[in-house]
Symmetry: C2
Subunit: 417 residues, 2 copies
């Protein structure tokens, strides 16, 4: 044990820590004279340090017992680092090409040492704001989602493994509660934490709080989020949790991981792409009207779902004789019934994904935590109509999601707003 | 600790055990010279002893590490006694009038000491076979179900309490696996454990195994059973888990308890009443055609759901400002939205209950464990048509459950078979 009890590290004490941990110091060739340490945590929850010298590099992520951006007034268990490390390892085992390797985990210190995603890796959200196309994004993220969700579900696993891991991740309850509050509750009621582009969206925010049908639908999704242990989900798979280059796609920050509904991950990703789409009109300028880029975002939305669908079904077919409890091969033993159950499963998952995606959009416009896609549009009179279009689409999607049969229909609806 | 390690007790060693446990010996006034001990376990899983003298009485239930009726060839963790004791205490706290009091629990010995349900208490199933009416049954069981299910759900509880208890009951996985196998899997495939009234029902059993739509529907229910932690359910609430007199209704044997879908309990009870209904033609004899009794069973089915519905909604209304996470009062804050969510919730629960009830009926006719309602009809040529009608109704109910709006419609459909 490098440090006997928890303490928040700074640039100086971090060096002492690294020296005491062979798994980390060895990455630097045990050389500390040319060490560079940069604090880069721009997230809401943690301290993040990049550590490198001429030999090697890694990232140190330390959770603090409160939500960093709000301060010590919003306590949040630092045990979330334990669940983040667990999820990184499990998802990394299942999708090693798209999850950074964990070198070291220290539960006492709530500290993870992991691969440094070197430049030109940037946060996908920033790339979307900059208008950069990532030709492999849909291919990669669909691969990550299909593999992590399929292999941690009862389509592949036995009930024994499932209930053991569900019980373990029940421990991440504080992070689940945070999601329940900021995604499924606060936007639909008066809350000191909510804000929006005022005064432009005052009426829109009020309309959300007074929409009974919207509240009915969000209740169903919230119950699913709280009750349905379908797979080990990332729990916060927005475009700020993905780092990209033209060749690489890496999913980070699964501190919200738990056994929940698959659609929550798929919806988070798709919903944040839709937000990026509606923000483009605010990013447009004389030299670039962003019209082509908007088409690329729509194509990425379409490809992501369609590729996910095909990969997920391929995994199911490949492993249909596995020990997965949900569809025993001795029962689902002919092509007709296999087709029947797969069609139904994917239809339900599609509708879940649309619902959760819509809920994630709404909360980013009238809830506590907004997205840089919109926030970077500094002129509020320009930002508000972009947000309003996104909000209107999200409300329709949440209420009418069961009417959509294909992602192409969803993309058409986005274009018609 | 009375005994330092697990050992199965017999009439003789049980006396030594009782003497060493004040919570038990005090019930007998510490008098052991006039003690009577009777082994009465007619269940499939445990030893059950009635212990009494002139001063007092209790029941001792000890779990053995296998399923008793099949023998040591089917191992089954004796830890189930721990979950049974937990559930008895929690459900007993919530519905003390309908759950026997636990006097003593010994985890090492997998042993529960509890209230002896004195005569004329008999197992409800035996009363149904005898044709006895229980005028308070629907009132009592609906009360038990409404209170145990409501108060252990997110309608009343916080996520923190919920996830803590869900994690604990994940430990009862072996009993869950047994249900998954015998209810949701074996009847739909070739299994050495299945049996039915042969040769009469050979074709019917085969038809179940070849019915793709039935398999589709049962998969959805199985997933719900495995994934949805809606409330602390009894897990085996058939008419053999209820003891009755004309004035008293007592629910026993919750060793299958875990956080699962509410409809599984409601369906188990209703489905077993429907089985009792279809068995009546086999119980009829010259002196009693059972026609009036069949009407009483149908009325009890109808009353049970309707009373449950009204009591559950009344609890919801009464506690709508509780800390229940699912429907925060600040959001569901007007009569219209309250009505909207309650209607939707109860409709879904109704359809779940019908589906689970149907699945429980099917497995009792073509699966491993049959019911005395039918088994007591010794003439197979008389038993088979009763079972076939029950099976046909159950298949229709499973496939068409979403078309039923009220329990009255279900009762009509039963009468039309």
């Amino acid at each position: 044990m490098a440090f006997p009890e928890f303490q928040p590290l700074n640039e100086k004490t971090l060096v002492d820590y690294i020296k005491a941990v062979p798994a980390l110091s060895s990455k630097l060739g045990n050389k500390f004279d040319d060490l560079t340490i940069k604090e880069v945590g721009d997230g809401n929850l943690n301290f993040v340090y990049i550590v490198y010298n001429t030999v090697g590099s890694f990232v140190i992520k330390q959770a603090l017992p409160y939500i960093r951006c709000i301060g010590e007034s919003w306590p949040m268990t630092k045990e979330r680092a334990y669940f983040e490390a667990l999820a990184l390892k499990e998802h990394g085992r299942l999708s090693p090409e798209h999850v950074p390797e964990v070198y070291h985990f220290d539960r006492t210190m709530s500290l993870i040492g992991m691969r440094y995603l070197e430049p030109p890796h940037i946060i996908l959200r920033k790339g979307l704001i900059a208008g950069t196309e990532y030709p492999l994004l849909a291919e990669h993220i669909s691969d990550y989602m299909a593999r992590t969700l399929f292999f941690t579900s009862l389509l592949f696993r036995s009930t024994t493994d499932h209930k053991r891991d569900v019980a373990e991740f029940c421990g991440n309850v504080e992070l689940c509660r945070l999601t329940e509050q900021v995604v499924f509750s606060d936007p639909y009621k008066v809350s000191e934490f909510n804000h929006w582009t005022s005064p432009y969206l005052d009426h829109d925010a009020q309309a959300v709080r007074e929409d009974n049908v919207l509240k009915l639908e969000v209740a169903e999704l919230k119950s699913k989020f709280c009750e349905r242990a379908q797979a080990l989900i990332h729990g916060d798979l927005h475009t700020g949790s993905v780092m990209v280059t033209h060749e690489s796609t890496q999913v980070i920050d699964p501190e919200f991981a738990f056994f929940g509904p698959m659609g929550f991950d798929i919806g988070a990703f798709l919903g944040n792409l839709v937000l990026a789409f509606f923000a483009q009109d605010g990013q447009a300028h004389e030299g670039n009207d962003r019209k082509a880029y908007k088409q690329w975002i729509l194509k990425t939305i379409e490809d992501t779902w369609n590729l996910f669908h095909d990969k997920f079904i391929a995994l199911w077919d490949e492993h249909k004789e596995s020990s997965g409890e949900a569809y025993l091969h001795a029962i689902y033993n002919n092509p007709e019934v296999q087709q029947l159950v797969q069609t139904q499963y994917m239809r339900d998952l599609f509708h879940d994904s649309l619902g959760f995606g819509a809920a994630k959009m709404i909360r980013r416009i009238v809830g506590v935590a907004h997205v840089e896609d919109f926030e970077s549009i500094t002129d509020a009179s320009k930002r508000a109509p972009c947000e309003r279009r996104a909000l209107e689409f999200a409300k329709t999607l949440l209420k009418e999601r069961r009417k959509f049969q294909t992602i192409t229909e969803v993309v058409s609806a986005i274009q018609q707003i």
